[in-house]
Symmetry: C2
Subunit: 375 residues, 2 copies
Amino acid sequence: MNDTTFAVLGAGGIGRRALEVSEDKDGLTPVAACDRHGVAVDHDGLDVDELLAATEGNIASETQRASEDVSSADRSSGRSPPEDGDQPRTDGGATVDGGGIKQAGADRGVAASAQAEPTETPIDDVIAESEAIDAVLIALPNLEHDFIPRVAERFAAASYEGVLVDVLKRSRVIGMLDDREETLQDSGITFVCGAGATPGFLTGAAALAAQSFVDVHEVDIWWGVGLKSGYEDNRGTVREDIAHLDGYDIETARAMTDAEIEDLVDEHDGVLEFHDMEHADDVLLERAGVCDAEDVTVGGVLDLRDDEKPTTTTVTVTGETFDGEVATNTFELGDETSMEANVNGPALGYLKAAVRHNRAGDYGVFGPAELMPGF
Amino acid sequence: MNDTTFAVLGAGGIGRRALEVSEDKDGLTPVAACDRHGVAVDHDGLDVDELLAATEGNIASETQRASEDVSSADRSSGRSPPEDGDQPRTDGGATVDGGGIKQAGADRGVAASAQAEPTETPIDDVIAESEAIDAVLIALPNLEHDFIPRVAERFAAASYEGVLVDVLKRSRVIGMLDDREETLQDSGITFVCGAGATPGFLTGAAALAAQSFVDVHEVDIWWGVGLKSGYEDNRGTVREDIAHLDGYDIETARAMTDAEIEDLVDEHDGVLEFHDMEHADDVLLERAGVCDAEDVTVGGVLDLRDDEKPTTTTVTVTGETFDGEVATNTFELGDETSMEANVNGPALGYLKAAVRHNRAGDYGVFGPAELMPGF
């Protein structure tokens, strides 16, 4: 493949790790990165080391505030229906953090990099440079459901021809993207949704494991994450996971203060176990024709006090072969592979695959399983 | 995906099972099948049950004779250099079975089907219908190295726009296809090489498992096949495997009579164990950028006296993550999945993926790993 240039929207844990992983990948050149106060663009390639050093350690509190902004904005405006087709919001910090009060501290995050400029309109700034950007990784967790679809619309409104990739988790967002598929196709956008670890890596593994079968009975995705040292960088992700616990939902998880989250974690001795999570693996496997969404279960164990995984991440796919045998194929990740490795490698891997499709003129909305052998 | 029409060249075990598996797949319509004496074409869809009933049980001896033809042809003509760029041979049974003496028995194989016509030019007959055929599965094992590349050239000479898929095993064939890539691209052909079980299914699994890593140290592919009841249908494949045993090569394996093969099998009590096989997984992973070919090992155990697998088919990929951990990811196939299920499901799965690329105008030679997330 020819060299691929890409941008990262968001400089939290996922955005920064994507930049870091790309340093080890052939043919991938990061040329833009932004968060709500800053944007860095260099079409010859960003100095990732400098950018990471400038943003490392001053993001966690940004993430925390962003989450609070989102919840306060949600409370004040009420939940708008996800399919209301409203116009893209004006840009600025208020949009990058999902709608809320702008924070002081323009020298935090990306803006602290010598390569960056402070900005009130980071996404528009990246869109303005997008003709020279092959792909954009949207690394913005924990925002309202239609936030990523609306970001995609803004790229389409600017007639962007290229790839958009997100690492979203929630099943319901996929439909919102599908509703916008024609707009994306008209623009020339190849959108890959849910391209992190799960959904993403493990969805692809399930789609591949299904190839032995003509009828898939059950897909079980079970993950383990040890996140002691990565906790600070991944508070947004942890907050999203908490929404899956019994008695919580996305709104209540967003409304929690950090102190309340710490109390919850303490109550569970640092280990949170999840069952029947709303992860988009289900709808993504269904749209690829592998199985019905209801035949997919996702769960896992998150240990916030240890970097060792509390359980082995495993995908099992049970089905029937054309010759009438029932069997189970299994995909296991080595326990030493971190969540970050399993999110960012596949996100960039799907990004590369999508660029190939995009260059050939294959536009629209793709789940990870649709970039695998067909079922 | 829209409906996909496909043809099968060859009606041995792999060709017949591909037709059978396609019956259980959405959006795949088999419209043509041939072997060296017969061709069946129905653009509304073949009656697979009738075709299978007509060919079942009268193929083994055809396969045996085809193998003998190949070896006798090789002996009489000498080995032509693989890169000699010679013209496609004239069609007829002589080409379909790899060059040799035409056999009597025009009522055997595909020709025995009520849907078929006897023919001396089966491949040309399929090419003549190929404008309405989206994809062609080349299911012809145990022929000389450049046979499949030359078949591809013949489709290109007829300006075929569509997908060609093979289930070849040997590493050296890939380079011969690469040498013809421009010809295939000019025609509008998307060629997927090595899309069976291994290479194919397991190559794809290795490419996916590699996504945790930024540096892959080692890929180990270890297969188990129990082939008691499938032995008759898969003599060509067994003969290919024997070429990998110590003291044998492709030429000596081809030259063996069936009785000599039986003696060999008896000596090993029906269980053949293979190490360091020349399977194209190595070059296919290298061309996808996953690792060096020399870091890939392929081996396995073939039990011809039992349908139970003598060992579990396992792919292990060891590598280093971006954050410096060394780990091993593992993909295991359930022991109840037959070789046929693991060849034909993936072959049709890669075929479907290739049709998507082809319709977008993405032409050339692809290994299975290149149809996966990029590394």
